[in-house]
Symmetry: C2
Subunit: 334 residues, 2 copies
């Protein structure tokens, strides 16, 4: 018995295979097809000052390992983001290392000696900054409500009254004071969203800290390399997301010490440098853009992520976890 | 400025730190503490015939790499599970390889040549087997309803009418014919659950296939190494989960070909053997057990996963994604 090639299809692969069209069935574009057809004006350039570039020491075969992180915009986490810009300008991370790789959880980096002096002038950011006031347009999928300032907010988030997208980022939110139930949200569609916060999706970058009331300076950072640990939302500051090179972090050997810390000094992965793209020469070729989450193409993309109808799929899900709708980011064509 | 040790805490670490007790605050056990205190009779032994043992070729430093998979019990996916037992008995996978590692998605293995003859007598399993009839007790967290055969079913699953646990596994479900809304579910708590299916959480193992109506034989397998791709639920057969050694898969270099397939033959990771534990010598030391999802300790554990109150956390989430409540599995003490 000879078996044909057996593939587990994903978004990227079958984009070019409109297999059903020839059988007279409607042809549904896949999420990547929708993104590929987005208009030029639906893409938003990422400012060089919002790009943090981490160069690890070359790997065992001498190959470069560059990780690019997009920092969060206002109103989110700007105290920590400001500290991170100062730390990068001071070249503080050069010579530090990746010290922790915990499977299905996080990769963490910083000063393993815990003795390196921090630059002057870093802010001490209060816990209240874990959440922000937001009144942007939000887009989500799934059970929805409509109201003046909000388009298509999803209200079946397990970790919040609702979740959606604003200015290129996934956020969750409550209303008024404290936590509102989904029923409250449906009954009072005109009430303001008073508290929103970024969510711990795959690739998001956050700030390590000690026990409360410590909130961390931004010198100790981690990124998510597993299923979204959303229970960390509102408990730790999120400051950005990896937009290129996460495989250099997610494929590192797992640490065998407690919490996935590397047991031995020689296991740590040296960080050659961390810089803002705005402080690097233009030749570094660091121009990126994201698909506006307020664009029509993003709405179509989010709907397609929630209702896969391309050739591989038999049953569209009818909904999608906010962390299963990653905001498309790409290198900007010159 | 000298910085104290900065840790991103997780379930495992702070289990031993009842920091609040001395300040007179109530002391809440963490999820691992609850699991550690579960009674011996709340654990269920996993039968050796349900354990699939994959030995990869040793790594570059000569270290062994063993991955242990627990196969799903009836009524789920038994056609494919039967095929997998036959393939293991025939030593069919010996000399095959891991051929695909796609970041935040899957690791996939099987016969890269696509020419190896399959053993006689494998079942051709119909697509209707992607779902099963289930009437077990289910346990979940979050907004709940109560009914005769179901305890604490969560009804805010993004991909189904609800989700919960049965006989040690996370499942999602609909009711009656087709998809029921959450409102239907709340209105008709006595109606039967007629369709349930396993969910694509981190570490779940599934069956690669071609386009419908192909459902795959079980010879081509994959495991999830990223955020749960729940849109695959009901579209591909799930047959088990990795219970030990997933780090040998999740930390492999990512493939640079389409879909994360390895571009070059020499990048593939050889599989030395795949065997059922029931066909290996007792000295192989392969005794595992899982925490019964019908036990009181599991209910307490699931609640604690959804409402973290241990020292590191400021804000309990009030809910948890079904894939953020992994069923505890451990090696059985002799």
């Amino acid at each position: 018995m000879i078996k044909k090639p057996v593939l587990l299809a994903c978004a990227v692969a079958l984009a070019a295979l409109p297999l059903y069209a020839q059988e007279g069935k409607p042809e549904y574009p896949s999420p990547p097809e929708i993104v590929a057809k987005a208009k030029a004006e639906e893409w938003v350039a990422i400012a060089p000052a919002d790009l943090l570039v981490m160069d690890l020491a070359p790997d065992a075969k001498g190959r470069a390992r560059r990780v690019v992180i997009q920092l969060m915009p206002a109103p989110f986490s700007q105290g920590w983001v400001g500290n991170i810009r100062k730390l990068a300008a001071a070249k503080w991370w050069d010579g530090t290392s990746i010290n922790r790789v915990q499977d299905n959880y996080v990769v963490q980096w910083g000063d393993a000696t815990e003795k390196k002096a921090l630059p002057e002038g870093l802010a001490v950011v209060p816990e209240s900054e874990y959440i922000s006031k937001v009144d942007h347009v939000l887009i989500g999928t799934g059970p929805t409500i409509h109201e003046p300032d909000i388009r298509l907010v999803q209200t079946s988030d397990r970790y919040a009254a609702g979740s959606g997208f604003t200015a290129g980022w996934a956020v969750a939110f409550d209303r008024g004071h404290g936590r509102f139930s989904k029923r409250d949200l449906a009954k009072n569609p005109q009430s303001d969203i008073s508290a929103a916060w970024p969510v711990h999706c795959y690739g998001m970058v956050g700030v390590g800290r000690n026990l409360s009331p410590d909130t961390g300076s931004g010198a100790e950072l981690y990124t998510v390399i597993g299923h979204a640990p959303r229970h960390l939302d509102r408990n730790i500051a999120l400051v950005g997301r990896v937009i290129e090179g996460i495989e250099y972090l997610s494929s590192l050997p797992r640490g065998t010490g407690p919490l996935g810390f590397y047991d031995k000094e020689e296991e740590r992965v040296p960080i050659a440098s961390i810089r803002l793209a705005s402080e690097m020469p233009p030749a570094a070729d660091l121009k990126f853009e994201y698909l506006s989450t307020e664009s029509e193409s993003f709405a179509a993309y989010a709907d397609a992520r929630a209702n896969r109808r391309d050739a591989f799929f038999n049953v569209p899900a009818g909904g999608a976890d906010i962390c299963n709708i990653p905001v498309p980011v790409r290198r900007k064509a010159e």
